[in-house]
């Protein structure tokens, strides 16, 4: 390593993984990850490297140049090291510790790859993060693996979709603003989509559009309370303990209820989001997807 730079994996290779091997879902989901984990284990054993290697081209794209490139095999080493040494605390998806989301480039204490390598090697005093005995190369492969998770998402593309048309559909026919917010515009009741293009792949977004009930992330689940006075309030459950619940209600109020004041309280099984399988044509859906994928927040170069 020289200087404080970004470790890159070749973007083309990553795109190939998205197209071909199903890695695009590796960063999230639970049960379905196992298939990908198995494939990856197979690759490590050299069983299925053919398609993978075909994709490996040297593309030094973007404004950030790599100080050290890692081959897919080396990223595989990082993946293995991560799963064995890190995943028990950080979770398979890198989001096991609150406030840290390794798969999405969200770190509490690191602003560069060198910082990450230092932390991986030496731990963080006074916290649960222990040192490892990794050398620089090994720690680097772990960072490359984590970066590859972000890159996989960032390199998603929608074939035949037009983001500008998608934006118009999002705001008009789709009615998405009634629940979702993008850069300060729209409702806060549903998930904020300002950087959804960095968080979700095309496949995931498409699945959410056509079958919103298939997977609702825990933090997005709808909740319903009925007060003893008979008022019904729905919203997103933000937090719950033995005696109280905290929700963002449908009027965008932060509300805290004492359970003893409630007649009932429970999750709502179904997502409030309608399916857009028939509400939008295939072309319209591709346009909306293209728009969603283009939403990269404000800090992404």
């Amino acid at each position: 390593m020289t200087g404080r730079g970004q470790i890159q994996t070749e973007s083309r290779e990553v795109a190939c993984m998205v197209d071909g091997s199903g890695w695009e879902r590796y960063h999230r989901g639970n049960l379905r990850e196992s298939r990908n984990a198995r494939e990856e284990a197979g690759k490590r054993r050299g069983m299925d490297l053919r398609r993978f290697n075909v994709c490996v081209l040297f593309l030094m794209g973007g404004t950030v140049f790599a100080q050290r490139n890692f081959t897919p095999a080396e990223v595989g080493v990082g993946s293995r090291l991560y799963r064995t040494n890190c995943a028990v605390c950080h979770g398979a998806n890198g989001d096991g510790i609150s406030g840290v989301d390794l798969g999405h480039g969200k770190f509490r204490r690191a602003s560069s790859d060198d910082d990450l390598i230092e932390i991986i090697k030496h731990g963080i005093q006074g916290t649960g993060m222990p040192p490892t005995n990794f050398n620089d190369f090994e720690a680097g492969t772990v960072v490359a693996y984590l970066r590859s998770l972000t890159t996989i998402i960032a390199s998603s593309e929608v074939k035949g979709g037009d983001a500008a048309r998608g934006k118009a559909l999002y705001e008009s026919k789709g009615g998405c603003k009634a629940c979702h917010r993008v850069r300060g515009s729209g409702s806060r009741v549903g998930p904020d989509l300002s950087e959804i293009g960095t968080l979700r792949t095309v496949t995931e977004l498409e699945s959410s559009l056509v079958d919103p009930n298939a997977e609702v992330l825990p933090q997005n689940r709808s909740f319903r309370v009925v007060t003893k006075a008979g008022a019904t309030v729905t919203g997103r459950l933000l937090n719950e303990d033995t005696f109280s619940v905290q929700i963002l209600d449908s009027k965008e109020h932060l509300a805290s209820y004492t359970k003893s004041d409630l007649r009932e309280y429970s999750f709502i099984a179904d997502s409030p989001m309608p399916s857009f399988r028939t509400r939008l044509s295939d072309q319209e859906r591709a346009d909306v997807l293209a728009y969603l994928v283009s939403l990269k927040g404000v800090d992404i170069p």
Partner: protein
């Protein structure tokens, strides 16, 4: 000062001065029940019931508990230590390995012994420490870099410091040592690093090792045949929670951790003794007298590192007549509650206390009958309880007064167990796979949005006679808190939500609760100074002491 006060002062001096001067002999530790104002060992007594005969706080007045003081640790690690209290002085550990002596009435610091562990220390799950032991005027602490240190209780100066195990190979010392007679007994953690676990006794005066018992038998030793090939060399079987002692049999009992590698049993065919077992050793020689294995050939990380709770209860014999019996009560990480005869290890009862899918009962000898197919696979297998267990190292409590065992419980909790090939390398994790949350992560975040079906925490009161549940106190989030009971039937417990409770030990109703603002990951304890009962617990990074409003 008037004359009357002077006389009172002199009398007080007469009464208290000899106590203040006396050392903590082993006799005092053995008979800790006779001085309930003190807390002389990790679980409050060698029987490890975490039960106190102090009775000033009652179900009627517990609502008047109020904060006396807070000690804020300069550490962001989990606060897992249970303090000791000796004649008004409290000793505890600020993670990872600073010993602190406090005034138990005010929380003011007398001294801090600061120990900086080597950078070689490898810990799987936090740079934590669970507490101290005391004998005479000497405190004992295990460190995360494999040292056992004796510290002068008056000055905080180190007396001796011995290397027990190799830190860079993943050995670390976490639990509060146990003093038996003139020895300090200490086990080693490192079950995720392919260590070969052991328990050892050290001369309290010199630190010289007196005996060592390997929890993974070597070639020629009994039990070695339960490990295929060389797998015993990295068989783990760590020890990271304090054991118990029974003076009648001179046995010391310890819970042993998971076999290594955790999630791939194919490389270690066999039962893998003495992983996931309780071992009963002669306290003078370390010789194994009996063992009982809770989870033979475990592939779910079901460490049996629970505190062995010793009780003398009436037990119905085969002839239907109840007689006094020396038992051991054990709520295991694997989801079963056990009653064993502690004189010989005989299996008396085993019953699930939470949802279990890996076994469906026991054969006549008390061996669990495993459910076929319940093992980690490359694709992943969902098993209840999940990797953190239906309980874990969190201290349970047994109240001789109610006759009930109180268990910190995780219910409806599962994990997806995934296996991978295993490869040992010194100082590296040797786990061969990983568990995943099937539902929202069970990691201790500050926010909970899990449903009850996805897992919740509870205090469960179990009748040892039947294994039946008498009552349950449900918490929305899971709990890493230990449990304390008192002779006045008050039960103290916390949880991840940051509440600290006094419950009625008879029925689980909430008598009092306090927001302590951080998760409780240690066992509450109680003590008394000047006739006033205190209850202490750590939450987040602070230690709190409560007493009744005056």
């Amino acid at each position: 000062m008037n004359r009357r006060a002077l006389i009172l002062f002199a009398l007080t001096g007469l009464v208290f001065a000899p106590v203040l001067r006396s050392q903590v002999t082993f006799d005092r530790i053995l008979n800790a029940k006779q001085e309930p104002q003190n807390w002389l060992s990790y679980s409050g007594g060698v029987q490890s019931q975490r039960h106190s005969s102090l009775n000033q706080v009652t179900p009627e007045n517990a609502k008047n508990l109020e904060l006396q003081w807070i000690f804020q640790a300069r550490s962001l690690e989990k606060f897992e230590a249970t303090p000791l209290v000796v004649d008004g002085i409290m000793y505890t550990v600020q993670a990872p390995n600073d010993v602190v002596a406090l005034d138990a009435v005010t929380g003011r610091i007398f001294w801090i012994y600061s120990y900086t562990p080597s950078k070689d220390a490898r810990v799987c799950c936090g740079r934590v420490n669970r507490g101290l032991a005391i004998l005479g005027d000497t405190l004992f602490m295990g460190t995360i870099d494999g040292h056992l240190i004796a510290i002068d209780a008056k000055s905080g100066s180190p007396i001796w410091n011995v290397t027990v195990a190799k830190a860079e190979a993943g050995y670390s010392l976490m639990h509060a040592p146990l003093v038996v007679k003139d020895k300090v007994i200490m086990g080693t953690a490192g079950g995720e690093y392919g260590i070969r676990g052991f328990l050892a006794a050290f001369d309290a005066r010199t630190g010289k090792e007196a005996w060592r018992f390997y929890t993974v038998p070597g070639p020629g030793e009994k039990g070695h045949e339960t490990w295929a090939g060389d797998s015993w060399m990295h068989g783990a079987a760590s020890i990271w929670v304090t054991g118990s002692y029974d003076p009648d049999t001179n046995l010391t009992f310890w819970g042993v951790g998971n076999p290594g590698p955790d999630w791939n049993g194919d490389v270690r065919p066999g039962d893998n003794l003495y992983s996931d077992s309780v071992i009963a050793l002669d306290a003078d020689t370390g010789e194994l007298k009996w063992h009982y294995q809770f989870s033979p050939h475990d592939e779910f990380d079901y460490d049996s590192v629970q505190v062995p709770v010793l009780a003398d209860i009436q037990w119905q014999g085969k002839d239907g007549v109840k007689r006094p019996r020396k038992v051991m009560l054990w709520a295991n990480r694997n989801g079963f509650f056990y009653v064993l005869d502690r004189t010989n290890g005989e299996f008396l009862l085993g019953k699930p206390f939470a949802k279990v899918t890996w076994a469906n009962g026991f054969d006549e000898k008390g061996r669990p009958m495993k459910v076929p197919g319940m093992k980690p696979t490359p694709e992943g297998t969902v098993v209840y309880p999940g990797v953190q267990g239906a309980t874990n190292w969190y201290s349970p409590s047994f109240s001789p007064h109610t006759g009930l065992m109180y268990i910190p419980t995780w219910e409806n909790y599962s994990a997806l167990f995934i296996t991978e090939p295993a490869e040992y390398e010194e100082g590296r994790r040797y786990t061969a796979g990983m568990p995943r949350s099937v539902v929202p992560s069970m990691r201790p975040g500050q926010v909970n949005n899990r449903s009850e079906e996805e897992g919740y925490g509870a205090v469960r009161a179990i009748d040892p006679q039947t294994g039946d549940r008498k009552w349950e106190f449900k918490m929305t989030d899971v709990t890493d808190s230990g449990i304390l009971t008192t002779a006045s039937d008050v039960l103290f417990v916390g949880g991840r939500e940051g509440y600290f409770y006094a419950l009625d030990a008879r029925n689980g109703s909430v008598l009092w609760r306090m927001t302590v603002g951080g998760q409780v990951a240690n066992g509450p304890m109680t003590y008394s100074v000047g006739g006033k009962q205190y209850v202490a617990v750590a939450a987040g990074n602070s230690l709190f002491s409560f007493a009744l409003r005056q």
